[in-house]
């Protein structure tokens, strides 16, 4: 028997949502659902594989970290999702899908009746069929037309016009006139045309909305949601987890190595190194000691410290950046999508044409009834059926192709803006570089030492140990058997291997007699043998140089905008042959973008850090790697996975290909109108011809859009 998804959650128990990006197979689903159901305190777990989420209903006293540990015990990494996501369902997509289903049902049944009328039903049968059509069409237009009527009303009441204005006018006029024809027993009713129009347009809308949902699910699964709180030291010496919004100045946080700070504060105990790269772009960890000021969002890499909070919540440096970001995002919301830009010219043209044909036929003495029929035929035939489908169809095919390549594009307008960019600004740390230390001298470890070093590195979560582990695992080194592993906070790890002491520790000057040079280094020592110094640096992303060359070939000039020091940026800039601005604050990056924008450039911002957030929001288009901060990923138009920088070029190429197809589709739609409109004006269009023309042109633009399947290369 197969296993149905458990659906109903147990009432009255709190439910928490977790992102579990590691789910890949059927086995993972059953492992998580069955495994968690056996954990005391958890009532039920429900996996949504598509969104890579688990909804867990649990007893009120079961805490989030406890559940996370339970999931970790099953072998999966998980992140709690915030309430704003928990309460969120794909409401708008679902509404559109319902409207589309109703329109589809109505379209098929009205078509059934219409075909009989076209093939010769007359007299009472024809009238009956028209009445039946009206009976189906009126509720359908009222229900399925709402998304268009609402948006058209919003536009008109703001004295603007968009695609939905001609659509709404067309549908309402057509339905009203057809109803009148039905009353007087006329020859033609256009109910099928009106409903078919709604169906095709709703298909386009729904595709657009599905694309946004899919990307949003993908991005929210990537978000790290970290520093949602801190372990706070109570006065009696016990410690308790406190959520970020409940932290208050004066509290003392215990910050373990590898944890991000949840609030600004002053170090009161311990020495460590802090990685500020997400906040400032500075690549080298900074040493902190008693009395040093540390900021929310920075990462403690070395040893546990105690931090007395001086500012929390909206008062932190982090919150300042968030505010800057909010302001910067407003220029992006002013962008008008290509379909709406087309509608600015399209709508007045269509309405003028319909009005002119009405006036023309009146003057020619055709009588108001006949003239009105012809005017409505013009409206129906010009209604932007293909236009409404042309853009979303192309964009969703392209976004699907990009998603397969690991690039999540957030919405259709992002693709349009991405196609327009002609200038790129790149952050250094984490964007051009990997943003994590990489072992540079792996050959310093001989065949005997490497397995021991790997075993030691695996037993520590320190970033440098992780780098050693990655480098050795990539060379397929098998770990040695070690015993008595001890992690000494702030120093390193040591263990016993074949009776000898093996150590992977912070390099001490005494050990090497003098300066150790690079400050990113660890010492590896086996028994009494002399220690080996392992050095690290933040390496360039693979294919960075090739990507920048291709950007240039695409006509996009690039430069570096980094918050790091000039000495740190210079080598990267020299290798890549780029000009660079250094030591930039978030506000400086914003200023650079607005200066370039004022000079007529469309700026593409590529960055990852919190400090890039405002610039990502302000850029004409923006990209962020999946390793970026949550703020960076939220602000960017698209997020790319993996280490390579090549997706940047792939995304721009695909966006431009999409724009080409969209323009072709517009040309097709205009070409069709050039043939169909004169026919309509001459009064030769019957409902049969309108139906054929409408579905024919829609099929053509969708088929053209499908050519984008291979766009992401």
């Amino acid at each position: 028997m197969n296993a149905p998804a458990p659906r109903a959650s147990i009432a009255a128990l709190p439910e928490s949502l977790f992102a579990v990006p590691g789910m890949r197979c059927a086995g993972c689903i059953s492992k998580i659902e069955n495994g968690l159901a056996q954990v005391p305190g958890i009532a039920a777990a429900r996996v949504n594989f598509t969104a890579k989420r688990v909804a867990i209903s649990h007893l009120p006293e079961t805490t989030i970290p406890e559940i996370q540990r339970a999931i970790a015990a099953l072998g999966f990494e998980s992140q709690p999702l915030g309430d704003e996501l928990a309460g969120f369902t794909d409401e708008s997509s679902r509404e559109l899908l319902k409207a589309m289903a109703v329109a589809g049902f109505a379209m098929m049944n009205i078509m059934l009746l219409s075909v009989s009328v076209w093939s010769g039903a007359s007299g009472g049968t024809k009238d009956l069929f028209h009445w039946l059509s009206a009976l189906i069409a009126l509720p359908t237009v009222a229900y399925s037309g709402r998304p268009f009527f609402r948006s058209a009303w919003n536009a008109v009441s703001n004295r603007r016009t968009n695609m939905d204005v001609p659509i709404s006018i067309g549908v309402i006029l057509t339905t009203t006139l057809s109803l009148f024809e039905t009353f007087v027993g006329g020859a033609h009713a256009y109910f099928d045309g009106a409903v078919m129009l709604l169906f095709f347009l709703l298909t386009g809308r729904w595709l657009d909305s599905v694309m946004r949902d899919r990307a949003r699910d993908g991005v929210s699964a990537l978000l790290k949601h970290k520093a949602a709180g801190a372990l706070v030291l109570g006065e009696d010496g016990t410690s308790a987890w406190v959520n970020a919004d409940a932290l208050k100045p004066g509290m003392v946080m215990l910050v373990a190595a590898g944890e991000r700070l949840a609030a600004d504060g002053v170090v009161t105990k311990g020495n460590s190194q802090f990685d500020l790269s997400l906040l400032t772009g500075e690549s080298l960890p900074v040493a902190v000691a008693d009395g040093d000021l540390v900021h929310a969002g920075t990462l403690n890499v070395d040893a546990p410290v105690e931090v007395r909070i001086t500012a929390a919540g909206a008062a932190t440096a982090l919150a300042d950046i968030a505010r800057l970001m909010e302001d910067a995002g407003q220029s992006k919301s002013r962008y008008v999508r290509i379909a709406d830009r087309a509608a600015r010219y399209y709508a007045p043209a269509v309405h003028t044409l319909a009005l002119l044909s009405f006036a023309g036929w009146m003057l020619a003495g055709a009588g108001w009834h006949q003239s009105l029929l012809i005017a409505v035929a013009v409206l129906i035939i010009t209604c932007p059926c293909a236009l409404g489908l042309a853009v979303p169809a192309a964009q969703i095919v392209s976004a699907g192709a990009l998603m397969k390549k690991g690039i999540l594009v957030k919405d259709g307008s992002a693709l349009e803006r991405l196609a327009e960019v002609d200038r790129a600004l790149l952050d250094k740390t984490g964007t051009l570089t990997l943003g994590r230390p990489e072992l540079t001298n792996i050959d310093a470890l001989d065949a005997a030492a490497a397995p021991v070093a790997l075993a030691l590195a695996r037993s520590s979560r320190h970033p440098l140990s992780q780098a050693v582990r990655r480098a050795l695992e990539a060379k397929a080194v098998a770990a040695a058997d070690i015993t008595d592993v001890r992690e000494i906070a702030g120093k390193g790890v040591e263990a016993i291997w074949q009776g000898k002491l093996a150590r992977l520790v912070r390099p001490e000057k005494a050990l090497f007699g003098g300066d150790v040079g690079a400050s990113l280094a660890v010492a590896f020592q086996l028994g009494d043998a002399p220690a080996t110094l392992l050095t690290f640096e933040d390496g360039l992303r693979p294919e960075a140089a090739a990507t920048l060359r291709e950007l240039k070939a695409l006509g996009i000039e690039s430069s570096i905008a980094s918050g790091d020091r000039a000495e740190a940026v210079q080598p990267v800039a020299r290798i890549l042959g780029l000009t660079a601005q250094t030591g930039m604050h978030p506000q400086d990056k914003l200023d650079t973008i607005s200066r370039l924008a004022a000079a007529g450039h469309k700026v593409l911002m590529i960055g990852d850090g919190l400090n890039d957030g405002p610039a990502l929001a302000a850029g004409h288009a923006s990209l962020a790697p999946a390793s970026a901060s949550d703020a960076g990923q939220n602000a960017a138009d698209a997020v790319f996975m993996g280490d390579s920088l090549a997706p940047v070029v792939i995304a721009i190429r695909a966006a431009r290909a999409t724009q080409r197809i969209v323009r072709q589709n517009f040309a097709l739609a205009i070409g069709y109108n050039v043939i169909a409109v004169p026919m309509a004006i001459m009064g030769m269009v019957t409902p049969l011809i309108a139906a054929l023309a409408m579905s024919g042109s829609s099929v053509i633009v969708v088929a053209n859009a499908l050519r984008l399947k291979g766009a992401a290369q």
Partner: protein
């Protein structure tokens, strides 16, 4: 002509039935996890057998 009186309500009724079924499946969450549904068929539900 009397055939129409039967056939049209039947045709519309069948269409409505389909629409109703779609709305029901949408509301009962069958479209919420399409990839997961495809995988769940592979999971063996080994219910303990009472003997």
């Amino acid at each position: 002509m009397t055939g129409i009186a039967f056939l049209i309500p039947i045709a519309l009724g069948l269409g409505l039935l389909g629409l109703g079924a779609f709305f029901w499946s949408l509301r009962s969450g069958q479209f919420e996890d399409l990839d997961g549904a495809a995988l769940r068929i592979l999971i063996d539900e080994d219910a303990p057998v009472d003997e």
